[in-house]
């Protein structure tokens, strides 16, 4: 029973991170119809920025802020300079481009920061909380993970629902031509969308790195899990991404706890194939299924 609860708690914590990552993918997909496979290395890069700041003797929180800001800038710059030319072109070009970015950012990080494992600090304790006389697998950092992802989601919802800027962003994502006719500067909105997505991705990177080891490839598998989570929710829906992330986190945690941690990626593949075969529009699809 205790193992079951701990596995579930671990899965929820991890699921929150996948949810954040899936949310970043959904933000970009909605506005530009591009799946940003370079999301993982981008988040890895900003995590290293945080590590540099922390290693220089500043506080964890300054590093944290530096990572988020550099994510914002990185996302905006990449969209403006590299991604803009392929937007609206053949799908395969965008896919190859983001994969090219994947390799470039990887190589860049390895050249600048080296290819070895380095430990990344956590701001809160990593010891489990005591309930009665047994320790459960939820620690301070886990709670911080869940809370910070929830806050970011709430902020995003508030941005899109209640602000003029959010309305303009939604309009550009919904129909670029009409938005343009109504005087929305679509280009700026797309850049902002990428910047926000990269910021959310950076948060996911920080949360995965906290209390464990980082190296240039530490986020690689997360792009797969984030993608699976986003597809579970249908790639188009932010809420779907969050639910998809939690579901995936739970499933993978149980596979890892009861079958073997080596098969986690395989389980993600199986889940992805099942969803794409049975419900290509995601498990929450109500309208006619979109062709994938």
């Amino acid at each position: 029973m205790q193992q079951f609860i701990n596995t579930a708690l671990g899965g929820l914590t991890l699921g929150m991170v996948y949810a954040a990552f899936a949310l970043a993918l959904v933000l970009i997909w909605r506005s530009t119809r591009i799946v940003n496979f370079a999301q993982a290395p981008m988040a890895m890069m900003t995590t290293f920025v945080a590590l540099v700041v922390i290693d220089a003797g500043y506080s964890y929180w300054l590093g944290f802020a530096a990572a988020l800001v550099s994510g914002l800038v990185l996302g905006a710059v990449l969209e403006r300079v590299v991604v803009r030319p392929v937007e609206g072109k053949a799908e395969i070009n965008a896919v190859i481009l983001t994969l090219g970015l994947f390799i470039v950012i990887h190589g860049l990080a390895a050249v600048i920061f080296g290819n070895r494992y380095r430990s990344f600090p956590a701001p809160f304790g990593l010891r489990g909380i005591k309930v009665g006389d047994s320790t459960i697998a939820l620690n301070g950092f886990g709670i911080f993970t869940i809370v910070s992802v929830l806050i970011v989601m709430a902020l995003l919802v508030a941005l899109f629902r209640f602000t003029d800027l959010g309305l303009r962003m939604r309009a550009s994502a919904f129909n670029q031509e009409v938005a343009r006719l109504l005087g929305v500067r679509v280009g700026q909105m797309l850049t902002l969308g990428w910047a926000l997505a990269a910021l959310v991705g950076s948060l996911a990177g920080l949360l995965i790195a906290g209390g464990s080891l980082v190296h240039p490839g530490f986020m690689d598998s997360v792009v797969v899990y984030g993608f699976v989570a986003a597809v579970l929710g249908g790639l188009d829906s932010p809420l779907g991404a969050v639910v998809g992330g939690l579901l995936l986190g739970l499933s993978l945690s149980f596979v890892s706890g009861y079958v073997g941690s080596q098969l986690v990626a395989l389980a993600a593949l199986v889940i992805l194939m099942l969803v794409l075969t049975l419900r290509p529009g995601g498990i929450f699809a109500q309208t006619a299924e979109r062709r994938v």
Partner: protein, 359 residues
């Protein structure tokens, strides 16, 4: 007589490809005999990257399906070879080992292809990306049979007497073991490329292209979309299996770390660099991937980077080239050159041939 020969050249693709293969064999022998032992090992790696890139070219270039999982498919070929060649006493002939590697990967390719046939663009990329990340885990999970992190050793059998004799007869020098492996790899490459080139020119290849260019029209013309997609995936998986076996022969090891996501992305880079859809392009891409790292690393070390960091410059460079190709020359190196030649022909009517063959 001359007309008959030129007629044969015009009409029989098979004859043309066979003559090309023969010429390629001569070039391979000439090159292999003039390079050092170290270079022959590099050439063997170029061959297996080339075989896998050739298969991926058929899939991505001709059929429009993108796969980031071809490195993982190579693992099936490599592990099959490793299981069949556990020690010196294993008496399985290499030809059978290669065929077994191809068949096993083919079966996996059918399974993946059936699932992939329904997917498009980013969905297919994501699914095959998941495949690339998942496969190494299988080798780690079945530690007993697949050797876990350390992987399986591949023991090459002794070179058969008749091969040694033939080699001595043709080249006049003793055949070393690494050169033997390089020859096998290049022979396999020539066979695979001849088959792929024929398929691409055949009815099957035309169907693949039709599906890539316009699904609706292809379906109206009576092409079974699913069958065309799955068959393209099968063929390219088979090539990946052969490539995996060659990798196992060359590095004498099948270990999960060799089939990381990096390998899959590298293969895609080779295909994109060379130009989507051209087998020559795939070979050029494979050559770049084999020889560029050495050059770039030397430059890196020369400019004061440590060895380990300089080694990371190579992926950085071909990632950059990949991005640049998509932004500047989406047709890749070969495609862009072809475009340039076609344009210069158009502006100069004297060189335009009246019998333009469609390509």
């Amino acid at each position: 007589m001359r007309e008959r020969i030129s007629g044969l050249w015009q009409h029989s693709t098979l004859a043309r490809h066979l003559i090309g293969a023969g010429a390629a064999l001569l070039v391979v022998i000439a090159v292999m005999e003039s390079v050092s032992e170290f270079r022959s090992i590099q050439l063997a790696s170029m061959a297996y990257l080339g075989i896998a890139a050739g298969g991926l070219t058929v899939l991505t270039g001709l059929n429009g399906q993108i796969s980031l999982g071809h490195g993982a498919l190579m693992a099936f070929g490599a592990y099959t070879a490793a299981l069949l060649l556990p020690d010196r006493e294993s008496s399985t002939p290499l030809v059978l080992v290669i065929i077994a590697a191809v068949l096993v990967t083919l079966v996996v390719g059918i399974a993946v292809g059936v699932a992939a046939a329904r997917l498009h663009g980013p969905y297919l990329a994501g699914a095959t990306l998941a495949l690339a990340v998942a496969v190494p885990g299988i080798a780690l999970f079945f530690k007993e049979t697949l050797g876990g992190e350390q992987g399986l050793r591949v023991v090459m059998p002794d070179i058969p007497e008749w091969v040694l004799n033939t080699a001595f007869f043709v080249t006049g020098s003793e055949l070393s073991r690494s050169r033997y492996v390089a020859y096998i790899a290049w022979l396999t490459l020539i066979v695979v490329f001849t088959l792929l080139a024929n398929l691409a020119r055949s009815r099957v290849g035309r169907r693949w292209r039709a599906v890539r260019d316009d699904e609706v029209s292809a379906e109206l013309a009576g092409i079974d979309l699913g069958r065309a997609r799955v068959s393209a995936f099968m063929v390219s998986a088979a090539a990946a299996g052969a490539a995996g076996a060659m990798l196992a022969f060359t590095v004498k090891l099948a270990a999960p770390s060799a089939f990381s996501l990096t390998l899959s992305l590298t293969l895609l880079a080779a295909v994109v660099l060379g130009g989507l859809g051209s087998l020559t392009g795939a070979l050029i891409g494979a050559a770049l991937l084999t020889f560029l790292p050495g050059v770039v690393t030397d430059i890196g070390v020369g400019s004061g980077l440590s060895d380990i960091r300089a080694a990371e410059l190579a992926p950085l460079v071909y990632g950059l080239v990949m991005v640049a190709v998509i932004l500047v020359a989406p047709a890749g190196i070969v495609g862009s050159l072809r475009g340039l030649i076609a344009r210069s022909r158009k502006t100069n009517p004297l060189t335009t041939t009246s019998k333009g063959t469609s390509s």
